[in-house]
């Protein structure tokens, strides 16, 4: 049983690898049949071409865009594009006025909306709110009972803003099934009827909002943190902090003074007057509508509520990045061809193939039959990577650029390294005089640590760069992580089990001269050489205690000249730093 243990285990793992490969193929096949995926990987802009959009920015107030705003616009569009997958888009400016976005393939309407959307953020007071669903046609308020303004609105919180039209729009608005059409940007001086989209925790809500009170451009920065209690101790409630500039501070003070009166009049904490709320509106949608619990005079409001760390971060990011008072007009949208000819890809692949052939020759030369295990492992790694790329092209819009192709070819080296480390450890174990079966098991135990530790470095690089970097670097990080994972799967699920099985074959187990594991070629001196002769260890690990110092020094002094020369020669051979020895002399 003990002898068949690793063999059975090895077979089982190989079967699992087959299952993984089959499952990936099945997923891809299903996607292809459904017409969404394709058997070949998607190619990036440089190889396949795509769509080039020239966007003309529209600045509020009609003033010209300045360079800083333009760069900010590029950064924000890049974030949005990156957020929609790992396709490497090219975003640049043209004539110092327009933004040019080139996307691989044909962008979906969603992507287009994402790019065009301005991040128009502002703060409006809430006049009225309600559940997200549209009021059924039969229970709509009759026309004669609709609220009628009695006077000109005195301020933004005045219910006189609610005209019959506004109220009608409010009742028919359906926030549970919001329409995808982006309406025109609202007039900041008029009331707005809009939704707060449903989240995982809260249902959709709809609002009638007063005119804009504070603009998003008045936000200097925003952060999120754990709320501090009255004693200054950290509670486990998340809070979002905003910091306004001078103008924002003054306006926000005025707003909170008014809103806080509603809050107090309605009975404080237990009250529910919607007019005590102010809505944070991004692109005409409410992202949060907190109540004004206090008058904020220093321009540093803190928003608290049922935040999780994630939702607090999301709101804080929206407040920080959202304040871009620019929207874009798509000036032209055109097909663009690949910037690198198909020739580049062909030559790259050809050169890669030649390189691979050289790797094959080198592996066979170095490891003989064992080289075939390397090649088979590389083939499995290649198949896994190919399937993963094709599937990710479908689900994540992952696209291969020429740089990505080259990256994959380079990954061959690092993938093969796992096998090389492993094979060398097995050889080391054989050199220690072990049999092949135990050499494989022992070598694996030691190689496994090394492989895991070194791949951890690659994975770390991939993860950090994926989450921190943008644009091309993010695409690169994705490829790096992908190959590192494929590599780990292959070495654990293919190379090791295969060797476990091969170690039991006669060819490898008896160390055939072409197996690459021939003990004689590895200079193995068996521990037991027959006729009762045992190999003597090279050096006895004598433990010399401090007391011996005098005696040892005496021994050195008593050496003959020839002996001393021999000793010096040996030291040079072992490459010691012989400072200590000289001291003794």
């Amino acid at each position: 049983m003990a002898r068949t243990g690793p063999k059975k285990a090895g077979l089982r793992v190989l079967v699992w690898l087959g299952v993984v490969l089959a499952a990936l193929t099945a997923v891809l096949a299903a996607g292809t049949i459904a017409g969404q995926a394709s058997w070949s990987p998607k190619l990036a802009l440089d190889l396949e071409g795509g769509t080039q959009m020239i966007l003309a920015p529209k600045v509020e107030g009609g003033s010209d865009i300045n360079e800083q705003q333009l760069n900010q616009a590029v950064a924000i569009i890049r974030q949005r594009v990156d957020g929609s997958g790992v396709a490497e888009a090219e975003i640049s400016t043209q004539s110092g006025r327009n933004v040019v976005v080139s996307l691989p393939g044909t962008p979906s309407t969603q992507t287009r909306a994402l790019i065009q959307a301005s991040a128009d953020m502002n703060f409006r007071p809430v006049l009225l709110n309600g559940a997200g669903a549209a009021v059924p046609a039969e229970s709509l308020t009759p026309v004669d009972q609709l609220p009628k303004p009695t006077a000109e609105p005195a301020n933004s919180s005045d219910v006189n803003w609610i005209t019959p039209e506004v109220y009608g729009a409010f009742e028919t608005l359906d926030c549970d099934n919001p329409s995808q059409d982006k309406q025109k940007r609202s007039d900041p001086t008029k009331p707005l009827v809009t939704c707060e989209p449903a989240t995982a925790k809260t249902p959709a809500l709809k609002y009638i909002l007063g005119p804009v009170e504070v603009k998003g451009t008045n936000i200097v920065t925003s952060s999120f943190q754990l709320q501090r209690g009255s004693q200054g101790a950290v509670t486990n409630q998340w809070a979002v902090n905003i910091q306004f500039d001078g103008e924002g501070t003054a306006k926000f003070k005025e707003v909170t003074q008014r809103l806080n009166q509603f809050y107090v009049a309605a009975g404080g904490e237990s009250g529910n007057d919607p007019k005590a709320q102010f809505a944070i509106v991004l692109d005409d949608q409410v992202i949060s509508a907190p109540r004004s619990l206090a008058v904020i005079t220093d321009g540093r409001p803190q928003i608290t509520g049922n935040f999780t760390e994630q939702s607090a971060k999301a709101l804080s990011d929206q407040l920080r990045f959202g304040a871009l008072p620019i929207s874009f007009d798509i000036q032209s949208e055109q097909q663009i061809s690949a910037t690198l000819g198909g020739e580049q890809l062909r030559m790259g692949l050809l050169a890669g193939l030649i390189g691979l052939m050289l790797v094959v020759v080198y592996s066979l030369f170095q490891y003989r039959a064992l080289g075939f295990v390397t090649i088979a492992s590389l083939v499995v790694a290649g198949a896994l990577t190919y399937l993963a790329i094709a599937i990710l092209g479908w689900t994540e819009n992952y696209r291969l650029s020429l740089a990505g192709v080259a990256g994959l070819i380079v990954a061959i080296g690092q993938t093969a390294d796992s096998f090389i480390v492993y094979f060398e450890r097995i050889r080391d174990e054989l050199r220690e005089g072990r049999g092949l079966v135990s050499a494989v098991e022992n070598g694996w135990k030691r190689a496994k640590r090394t492989v895991l530790a070194s791949k951890a470095v690659n994975l770390l690089a991939a993860l950090v760069l994926y989450f921190v970097a943008v644009g091309n670097v993010r695409g690169f990080a994705f490829t790096l992580g992908l190959t590192a994972i494929a590599d780990l799967i292959v070495v654990f699920m293919f190379t090791h089990p295969t060797l476990q099985l091969l170690a039991r074959t006669k060819f490898f187990g008896e160390g055939h001269i072409f197996s690459g594991l021939d003990p004689k070629r590895l200079g193995v001196v068996p521990l037991y050489r027959g006729a009762g002769r045992l190999r003597t260890p090279e050096a006895k690990p004598d433990v010399v205690r401090a007391k011996n110092t005098g005696a040892a020094a005496e021994a050195v002094r008593r050496m003959t000249i020839a002996e001393r020369r021999l000793a010096e020669k040996q030291e040079q051979l072992t490459g010691s730093s012989n400072g200590a020895a000289k001291e003794n002399k």
């Binding site: 080039q52 333009l70 760069n71 590029v74 890049r78 090219e90 975003i91 640049s92 004539s95 097909q335 663009i336 061809s337 910037t339 690198l340 000819g341 030559m347 790259g348 050169a351 691979l356 050289l358 030369f365 170095q366 020429l402 740089a403 080259a406 070819i409 380079v410 080296g413 390294d417 090389i420 480390v421 060398e424 080391d428 050199r431 090394t450 070194s454 791949k455 470095v457 690089a461 991939a462 760069l465 970097a469 943008v470 670097v473 790096l480 070629r521 004598d542 010399v544 205690r545 011996n548 005696a551 040892a552 005496e554 021994a555 050195v556 050496m559 040996q570 072992t574 730093s577 020895a581």
Partner: protein, 340 residues
């Protein structure tokens, strides 16, 4: 040859053949220091890196109603005026060509405009030129740098935890920095344009460099785990032995990694001339060579050097010397040993 290489591995493993990587550290450090200094001086002397259009922006020509959509014609028109330029030519919406090049002078712009007019058989007013900004903007560079710093810090912590000593982290990161500087220096020397591909290649090299060091350091960790209880070799010798024992793997890995890259660099780029493949493969080719060498000649000796003055290891080295002295004078030493 193969058999002698196997024999080479055997001798390295047993310590019969040994290269003194650790002992000759002063030589290696000096070479590395000079190479790093040169790598810093070269770009400075040349007035910085030759940044491509992706980083600096450039000129863009739009040719409408072209008779031919051959990209080569546009490339030729630009290269006639600016020899050695690598224009990016693309076909837009059927009959329009877009040609992007590095920043041009007014004179060059006019000449290229004329060249493009005749190359594509269009009239003067069908060729327009404008300025394009960088696609690899400051925001990409900034985020990439932040990512890099975070990665190196986290990797240093990870290695310090795994190897249980910060000295290995420090040595590994030093080796990586040497690789980074020299690779950048060689790239500057080549006078190739720095493109996003080259930067990607550069990032791959950094990750490869640390990866390679971890593999060798893991063997060092294994060999030196019980060094203080043994008098067989001093700490420095154990480190040197580990480097020698992993030398065959270092050579094999480097060869396997560099063969495809070399094929792309010398065959692919040789056939195609400049472009993505050449930039990327040059950075990788140099980086893999230097990264492998830096592990052996810089990181490992530096680790031995950082630890050699630890009191425990100094004592251990003394004990090794005494044991060796004892072994030479066999009879007396064993007698002394027994007597004590």
């Amino acid at each position: 040859m193969s058999s002698s290489f196997a024999n080479f591995g055997n001798e390295l493993y047993s310590g019969k053949r040994s290269y003194n990587f650790v002992g000759a550290k002063k030589v290696w450090f000096l070479i590395a220091a000079v190479a790093v200094a040169l790598s810093i001086l070269i770009p400075v002397a040349k007035g910085g890196f030759n940044l491509g259009i992706e980083f600096r922006g450039g000129s863009e020509f739009t040719v409408s109603n072209v008779k031919t959509t051959d990209a080569g014609a546009g490339e030729q028109a630009v290269q006639d005026v600016v020899p050695g330029a690598i224009p990016r030519v693309a076909n837009v919406a059927g009959t329009t060509m877009r040609i992007q090049t590095d920043k041009l002078t007014d004179d060059e712009t006019l000449k290229i405009k004329a060249g493009l007019t005749s190359a594509y058989g269009v009239t003067d007013n069908e060729v327009t030129s404008t300025f394009v900004g960088p696609t690899w903007g400051a925001d990409v560079t900034k985020q990439a740098l932040i990512g890099l710093v975070v990665f190196v810090l986290l990797a240093a912590v990870l290695m310090a935890l795994y190897f249980r000593t910060w000295k290995m982290s420090l040595s590994a990161v030093s080796g990586m920095l040497v690789t980074m500087f020299i690779t950048a220096g060689v790239y500057a020397l080549s006078d190739f344009e720095v493109t996003p591909s080259a930067v990607i290649g550069f990032l791959t090299v950094l990750s490869y460099s640390l990866y390679d060091t971890v593999v060798v350091f893991d063997k060092i960790r294994e060999n030196t785990a019980e060094v203080s209880a043994s008098t067989r070799r001093t700490f420095a010798e154990e480190v040197n032995l580990a480097v020698n024992q992993t030398l065959v793997r270092s050579i094999n890995t480097m060869m396997v990694a560099i063969l495809p890259v070399g094929a792309i660099l010398f065959i692919g780029a040789g056939l195609l001339g400049a472009g993505t493949l050449r930039d990327l493969s040059l950075a990788l080719f140099v980086g893999i060579l230097i990264g492998t060498a830096a592990t052996i000649f810089v990181a490992a000796p530096m680790y031995a050097w950082l630890r050699q003055n630890e009191p425990g290891l100094v004592k251990q080295a003394k004990r090794v010397e005494q044991r060796r002295a004892g072994n030479t004078d066999r009879a007396d030493a064993s007698a002394a040993s027994a007597g004590a």
